[in-house]
């Protein structure tokens, strides 16, 4: 029907393209206004790193998520929306400190992270393990069994593995420092390559 085609023409004419700059400008304005009105429950940004693009997300309590590109950032954001709050906004300002510390870590100018963490994405035993991970010092490694003993449950080797695999804050909470008892790497959220990169970085210091 020609009528339908005409309508399409008109729709195209009315839908003048909205260029990316305009949207970026509007977005920045929204970010400021939303911050002032306390409407951002989860702020996020992405940063480049030697292990690829990282998504950083923070609640008012602290850094809540670090995600590798391989985890699919869109899906991570969707999950954050469901688990924490749908009020998620790209708001790099709130992540400046975390981003700076991660940069310093990769530049070998930082061994311990000081940024405040929000551990609300993990519970129970996993959270317990993740709380103890920063006790493994920079450049050191532990086995899954060591960690199980450290948290007072020597039989829970597998559960420690799961806790490391589901660490919502990789790099900052150093689950990459946990290896298999025979010294082989074991798995890693960011892939084996990322784990090797982090361990090499720390070993070279």
């Amino acid at each position: 029907m020609s009528d339908i085609r005409n309508d399409d023409d008109m729709a195209v004419l009315l839908s003048t393209p909205v260029d990316a700059d305009t949207l970026r400008r509007l977005h920045r304005r929204l970010e400021q206004a939303a911050e002032q009105a306390d409407l951002i429950d989860v702020a996020y940004t992405t940063i480049d790193s030697p292990v690829g693009k990282l998504l950083l997300a923070a609640t008012p309590k602290g850094l809540v998520r670090v995600a590798y590109a391989g985890e699919d950032h869109d899906r991570v954001l969707e999950a954050l929306g469901q688990k924490l709050s749908p009020r998620i906004l790209h708001a790099p300002k709130r992540l400046e400190e975390a981003a700076r510390e991660i940069d310093e870590y990769f530049a070998r100018r930082r061994r311990v992270f000081d940024v405040t963490l929000d551990l609300s994405l993990s519970h129970g035993f996993r959270r317990l393990v993740q709380t103890h991970l920063p006790e493994i010092e920079y450049g050191q490694t532990r086995s899954y069994r060591d960690m199980a003993e450290l948290v007072g449950n020597p039989k829970a080797v597998r559960a420690v593995g799961t806790a490391c695999a589901t660490n919502p804050l990789p790099i900052v909470v150093p689950c990459h420092r946990v290896l298999r008892a025979d010294g082989t790497l074991g798995g890693y959220v960011g892939g084996i390559e990322a784990k090797t990169t982090l361990l090499d970085l720390e070993a070279a210091a």
């Binding site: 020609s2 729709a11 909205v18 304005r29 749908p86």
Partner: protein, 156 residues
């Protein structure tokens, strides 16, 4: 949400309000949306919901403009340099501006946001048939006053 629907909402605001007041309505729309979002049922059509909010914001802007009848300048001749529809489309924007507000809104929600007539009826109030008629009339008027669209279409 902003990433997914930001452009559509801006287009809708532009058609309803004109390019220049659209920015404010856009910001206000997403701010209110962020306020209300946690209460939105999961099954809701987010785009229709956003357009509903944009509609209310647009009405606020129009009312405010009526209260302070400042001499409003026409669509500027020089490109504003902010991605606002430029001189080429000035004729179209002038034609859009001349539409009665109900038609202008119906056209925006139908042809820019792509909403169903039932959704438009809910936003504008009134029956589905009235929404259909308003958007058809609006389009007819636009074609009459903006010949560019007619020459493009085949016989109608």
């Amino acid at each position: 949400m902003v990433a997914q629907h930001g452009a559509t909402v801006l287009r809708v605001c532009r058609v309803v309000l004109g390019p220049h007041d659209a920015d404010d309505a856009w910001s206000e729309t997403f701010l209110s949306a962020m306020r209300a979002y946690p209460d939105l049922p999961e099954t809701a059509n987010v785009e229709a919901w956003l357009v509903t909010i944009a509609h209310r914001k647009a009405i606020d802007v129009l009312r405010a403009a009526k209260r302070n009848p400042l001499p409003v300048d026409e669509v500027p001749e020089a490109p504003a340099g902010q991605g606002v529809p430029d001189v080429e489309a000035a004729g179209l924007w002038a034609a859009v501006k001349e539409l009665p507000s109900k038609q202008r809104q119906a056209v925006a929600y139908r042809y820019v946001a792509g909403l169903a007539y039932a959704e438009i009826a809910e936003i504008l109030g009134g029956t589905v048939e009235a929404a259909r008629r308003a958007s058809a009339d609006g389009l007819k008027n636009l074609r009459k006053h903006y010949p560019g669209a007619i020459t493009k279409g085949a016989s109608s």
